[in-house]
Structures are given as C-alpha cells and as structure tokens.
C-alpha cells in the first residue's frame, strides 16, 4: 500500500467511524426528549427509565464521537496539509460555528446527564432538547463544509492563487442544502431502525417487555417517518449532482455513453475496461427523467469527461446500489409499520414484524456508509472539485501506512469495546430499572 492510498484509507476509516457516533449522538437526544416529555406529563415511571437507559448510551456515543471528531480536526492537517493550507480560510466558517454548537452541546449534556433531581424538571428537560438541537446544528455545519468540497465557491482561483475569499458564500454553497437534508434524514433513519431493532429483539426474547415496547414505539416512529421522506430528499440530491458533478452521477449509474432517454442501471457487474455493465436491470428513460426531469434530456456519460477526471466507477456504482437498495427496503418496512398502526393493530404483536425490525438493525448504517462512499469516492480524483486534486494535497511525510495500521487497530478495538458496553447496558436493563 503506498502512502497516498494509506492516507485516503486512514481518512475514510476515521470518517466512517466518526459518522456512526455522530449520527447516534445527534439523533438519540430527540428520542430521549420525547420519552422524557412523556415521563413529565404522564408520570409513568417506565418513560423515566427509558430516558435514563438511553442517556447512558448517549453518553458513551457522545464521548466516543467527541474524541473521534477531535482526531479528525487534526487529521485534516496531518494527512492533507496542502488542502488545509488553501481551503482552511475558505471553508472554515462552518467549522468555527460548529465549535460553538459542539461546545453548547457539551455544556447542555453536562446539565442533562448530571442534573437528574437537581433542577426544575422542565429546565432539565429543556437542556436535553438543547443537546439535540446543537448536535443537529453541528452535523449540518460539518456537512456544509463537505458540500463545499463538492461545490467550491466563495473564492477566485487565478494562476494557482486563491483570492477574493468570501467564507460566508463558501458556507452556503450550492450543495449544502441537499447534502445536509439527506444526511440529517439518514441519521434519523439509521439510528431509529437500529434502536427500534434492538428493542424489538428484547421484546421477542420476552424480557422487560413493557419497557422495551415503549422504547420501540418512539424509535420506530422517528425511523419510519424519516425513511418515507428520504427518497424525496434523494431526488433533490440526484438532480443537484446531475447539474454540478456530472462525472459523479455517471459513476453512480455506471453511465458510459452520453445519450437521451438514458436508462437507469440497477445492479449489474461493471467492467471499467470495456465500459460495459453486465447482468444489470435497465429501465429506459428513467435516468434522464430522474436527473433532469424529462426523458428527452441527454445525460452526460463518462465518455465525454476526460479520462483522468474519472472517479472509480465500479465502487461508486456498487455503493450507490447498496444505499438505494437498503433505502427502499427500509421504506417498505416503514409502510408496513404504518399500515399496522392504522389498520392492523394485531400485526404489532406479531413475531414476523419484530423479526423484520431486528433484521433492519444494521441496514441504515450500512446505507450511510455506502452513501458516504458515493459522495467521497464519486468526487475523486478531486479533493476540491475541479480545483485541487487529492494526490496534490497529501502530506509529504512518508510512512503514513504505519499510521493507518495504528488507527485501524485503535478504531477496531474501540468498536469492540463500545459494542461490549452496549451489550452490558441492555443486559442490565432489568436489574437496574427494576421493571
């Protein structure tokens, strides 16, 4: 493995790790706020227990997310110094605001976690809501910085010089809204299904059923509502990418030839040499319609993009298939759940519905990782789209490959420990909360 690939892998690993913790850390506070609200309103002890049990999970995830985020703020420079030297002053605005949001989140979390029975109950509840809102704001700001890499604005690039810098314009770049919306919904879908699935598993095992049913209900409603909205946000993103980053769209679709009435390519095996996709399901005209809103419009194929500006096609295409496929599965499960809620209450008690939710535990997070790969790998070979190539941004220091091994070992062990802690938290629910 050469150092450039090692640097990319280390960055991918760090982001791929952080993204899970960040999503959980920004979504769980909303679940807690609902349970907490119900406890304060109804006085049913089970809701207080659910809130407290979740808050322990949040503390674990928040702390892990906070340290992995701290690491990232250094890694940007440790791995990509040339990028940061030029991009820092341009796209740094959301990071400086994110610092504030994150700080407020940490303060509010201090109040929330340590403030049980010490404050006015509604003030205490409110600090929990602040944790959620500032966490969400942090997430949106960081995604806006990433969106700038896909859609760089707020500066002029003349003869290798970055001049006329406008950090506010850079922050509100063309991609920020569609990316932030898609990521936020994804966080709710993934966390919601994961949490609901874990509680479904406990219901199925017949342990502390009342407790787990209440918890399941809150998580499942967040997850399913977000899963239904997500395709709409995906459509906004697709049209946006088609406009701004035709190479990324072409790679996502393994779309080699520029043509009108372009087909949507579902699945298949990509052969980058012969520029063909074998065994795929092709729906004529659908890609033109999805990308540009009309079947007659041509969709730019990779053949019209210079070869050295191509992103890796196969992996981007597969990752996109995984994301959309899992999104559709979760959409289907959501619709079934709504039908159950509205018409068929008996389904809610049934084993098969619980089983479906248990299967769905990892799906949202796999979809998030896949979507992240689509947007990051699909942007290659650029680190700042159309301006700076990733290979020109990497640190001159040799031996990054060892750093990559080291971080891999660290993140793997952290994942194992977090999983172990969650397992123990869940196992102890009955003993701690006496339900």
């Amino acid at each position: 493995m050469d150092d450039f690939l090692a640097a990319r892998s280390q960055m991918a690993l760090s982001l791929g790790f952080h993204i899970i913790f960040a999503c959980i850390g920004m979504v769980m506070p909303f679940f807690m706020a609902i349970a907490h609200y119900k406890w304060l309103r109804t006085g049913e002890l089970v809701y207080k227990n659910v809130t407290k049990a979740w808050s322990k999970g949040v503390a674990i995830f928040f702390a892990t997310g906070a340290v992995s985020g701290t690491v990232l703020s250094f890694e940007l420079g440790l791995l990509w110094p040339t990028f940061m030297e030029h991009a820092g002053p341009i796209f740094g605005m959301p990071f400086s605001l994110e610092g504030t949001a994150f700080f407020i989140e940490a303060i509010a979390l201090g109040f929330f976690l340590y403030g049980w029975d010490k404050f006015n109950p509604w003030f205490h509840w409110f600090t929990g809501v602040i944790v959620g809102i500032s966490g969400l704001a942090s997430g949106i700001l960081v995604v806006s910085a990433n969106a700038w890499m896909n859609s760089p604005t707020g500066f002029e690039y003349i003869n290798g010089q970055y001049t006329n810098i406008d950090p506010i314009e850079a922050m509100f770049n063309d991609a920020w809204f569609s990316q932030a919306l898609h990521m936020t919904l994804a966080a709710f879908v993934a966390t919601g299904f994961a949490v609901a699935g874990v509680h479904a598993f406990m219901i199925k095992k017949g342990k502390n059923v009342h407790f787990h049913q209440k918890a399941f209900r809150i998580a499942a409603i967040f997850a399913t509502v977000a899963a239904v909205l997500q395709p709409l946000s995906g459509d906004i993103s697709a049209k946006d990418v088609a406009q701004r980053q035709p190479a990324k769209l072409a790679a996502m679709e393994a779309h080699f030839k520029t043509e009108e009435n372009a087909s949507l390519v579902i699945g298949g095996l990509v052969d980058e040499k012969t520029k063909e996709v074998k065994y795929a399901l092709k729906v004529p005209g659908l890609l033109s319609w999805m990308a540009h809103g009309a079947r007659e419009t041509a969709v730019t194929g990779l053949e019209d993009i210079p070869e050295n500006d191509h992103p890796p096609v196969a992996i981007t295409h597969y990752a996109f298939q995984v994301m959309v496929g899992l999104g559709m599965l979760m959409l289907a499960l959501s619709i079934i759940y709504f039908i159950a809620l509205a018409k068929n209450r008996l389904w809610l008690q049934s084993q098969w519905l619980l089983n479906l939710f248990i299967i769905a535990i990892p799906l949202g997070f796999i979809a998030i990782e896949a979507g992240w790969m689509v947007t990051e790998i699909g942007r290659q070979p650029w680190i700042i789209y159309g301006v700076m190539r990733t290979v020109d941004a990497v640190t001159p220091m040799p031996g990054i490959v060892y750093s990559f091994y080291l971080f891999t070992a660290v993140y793997l062990s952290l994942s194992v420990i977090v999983a172990f802690l969650l397992y123990r938290q869940i196992k102890m629910v009955g003993k701690i909360y006496d339900v």
């Binding site: 740094g92 605005m93 400086s96 504030t100 700080f103 303060i107 950090p167 938290q425």
Partner: protein, 337 residues
C-alpha cells in the same frame, strides 16, 4: 479584528492548560497514588469534573479551529513537521476520553474497571507529555522545512532533550493544578492532609522539572535565559510565578481553598504568558532563522473578520451557559452534603 482572533486563540490555550490540565492532572495523581487513595481520588474527581469534563476539552478544539481557519500556514507547518507527536497526543486523547466514559458507564462493575483505569491513568500522563513536546518544538528552532531526510524533517524537529524536559514539566504542572483543585473538594482533615502532601510533592517535582528545562535548553542551544531575562515582561512573569509559588507553599495548610486555587492558576498563567509573550507575534521559530507570525501569516481579512464574529457570537452563547453549569453544580454540591 485580527487581535480579537489572537486573543481568543490565547484564551483557549490558557483555559485548556488550566482546566484540561487539571483534568489530566487528576489522572496523573491517580497514577502515582497508593491504592488506598486511588479510589478517593477517582470518586472525588468524578463528582467534581464529571459535569464539566467534556467542556474542558473543547478548548483544544476551539484553538485548533482558530489555527486552521485563521492561520492555515501555521497549522499546516505543524501538521507536517510535528506529525508524530501530534499523532501520539491524539492517541492519548482517544484513549483517555473513552476510558473515562467507559469506566463510568459500564453497567457491570467487574475486572474491566481495572482495564479502563489503567488506560485512563497512563494516557493522562502521556497526553500532556506530548503536548509539552509539541509546545517546545514550536520555539526550539529545530523544525527544518528544508530537510530532505526523514529523521531531520520529522523526528529531530521534536525529539530532543529540551522537548522531553518541557514534556515532563507539563506533566508536573498538570498534577500540581489537580492537587490544588482537589484540596478544596475533600472534607475530612485526613484527606486534606493527603492532598496537601501531594500538592507539595508536585511543587517540588515541577521545580526539578523546571530546572531540567533550563539545563536541557542550555545543551540544545535554546536561548531560554536570554528570552526570559532579555525582556521585562518575561522577567516579571517568571518572577511573579516564583513568588506566588513560595506564597502557595506557605499558605497551603491554612488558607481558603479558593485563595490557593487563584494562586496556582496565577502561577501557571504567568508561565504561559512568559512563554508566549516573549516571541509574540511569532509563534513558530524555524531552524533556518525564519519564523511564522500570527500577524504576517494570518489568513485573508475577510476570513479573519468572519472568524472573529463567529467567535464573539459563540462566546455570547457559550460563556454564560458554561458559568451557569459550573456555578450550579458548585451550589448543588453544598446541598448534597
């Protein structure tokens, strides 16, 4: 506007040294305590810093964001040439932050606690050690941007006697801050005596490590004495730090906790002031005689302006909330007893 940003940068580093430092120090004290006192330290510490411990470490993030947004050249030079100690510090931060939470949020208390404790106490010492090395490397004129071989570019830039001495000194300062802080938080006279003893040991250790820094500076050709005594602010700050240390030693037994805390904070702040003011606005001194300056190497005006507004706006939200957090848990503590 640039001076507002610089003031925020200094303040974040200062608060990180005091608050984060005391936090690291608590782990260091746990590391050197005999087992019967380990638990006492641990429980007192969790009670006191639990609610604010995340906030203590935010200052580092604020400082690093200010650097990469406002002073990208300084940030990237450090990232390239002191990559290795930065990575070591990061690993320390990961280990420490997660171990702290794991040990407090593991639903089952068993032998795993001992594993978390070990990781926590060792990383509490390792992290400030590398922070000290990093700080030392910025002024020791060992960063060689023209170096072509691996060792001179990426290793000798930070690995030298002076850096190691400053690293050890940083560990002692952290332990010292924590010991002083904990004295005011324990209530039985025996515990008080115990932590006063530790504080005294830490003062002696800091004194010895400080001496080492001067000796190492001499051997590494870092003109530390010239810097301190060549500028009246430097001499004054170090003088004030020494005098307050003597005061502190005398008043440890009899005075109010708040008074000795202020003395300790003042003492540490003076050292940081001396270390930073002497070179201001230069922040990194390079081997070839050039330097990076907070004024000349700042980002574009518009960036600095936006950054200053973001920081001002942020502090309107952050500071009152943070004070209220510290204040309320300080007040509630009284009720709990």
């Amino acid at each position: 506007m640039l001076y507002i940003v610089i003031a925020f940068l200094w303040t974040s580093i200062w608060l990180y040294l005091l608050l984060g430092g005391a936090d690291f120090g608590a782990g260091i004290i746990e590391l050197i305590s005999k087992s019967e006192h380990k638990n006492k330290t641990r429980h007192t510490m969790y009670r006191v810093i639990g609610p604010i411990w995340e906030a203590n470490h935010m200052w580092l993030i604020i400082a690093i964001v200010i650097l990469f947004v406002g002073f990208p050249k300084i940030y990237t030079t450090m990232s390239i040439f002191i990559h290795i100690p930065l990575t070591a510090m990061l690993l320390g931060i990961i280990a420490r932050g997660t171990a702290f939470v794991f040990r407090n949020y593991d639903a089952v208390e068993d032998r795993m606690q001992e594993v978390y404790n070990r990781i926590f106490v060792y990383s509490s010492a390792i992290t400030p050690f590398f922070l000290g090395i990093i700080a030392a490397s910025t002024v020791s004129r060992k960063i060689d941007v023209q170096a072509t071989d691996f060792l001179s570019a990426y290793v000798y830039s930070w690995l030298n006697g002076f850096g190691i001495a400053v690293g050890l000194f940083t560990i002692c300062i952290c332990g010292f801050l924590a010991a002083i802080y904990i004295i005011g938080e324990v209530h039985s006279p025996a515990d008080k005596q115990h932590f006063i003893g530790i504080a005294k040991k830490m003062i002696v250790a800091a004194f010895v490590a400080g001496g080492l820094v001067f000796i190492a500076a001499h051997y590494e050709h870092v003109p530390l004495l010239d810097w301190i005594f060549g500028h009246w602010i430097g001499s004054l700050a170090i003088g004030a730090a020494s005098i307050s240390l003597i005061f502190l030693w005398i008043s440890l037994n009899k005075s109010q906790a708040i008074f000795i805390r202020i003395l300790a904070g003042f003492q540490t702040s003076m050292i940081l002031l001396a270390a930073t003011y002497i070179h201001f606005p230069k922040i990194i001194l390079l081997k070839d005689g050039a330097s990076l300056s907070l004024i000349e190497d700042a980002g574009s005006d518009k960036t600095i302006e936006a950054l200053a507004w973001a920081l001002l706006l942020g502090s309107i939200f952050i500071l009152p909330a943070l004070f209220y957090l510290i204040y309320s848990f300080e007040k509630k503590k009284g009720i709990a007893h």
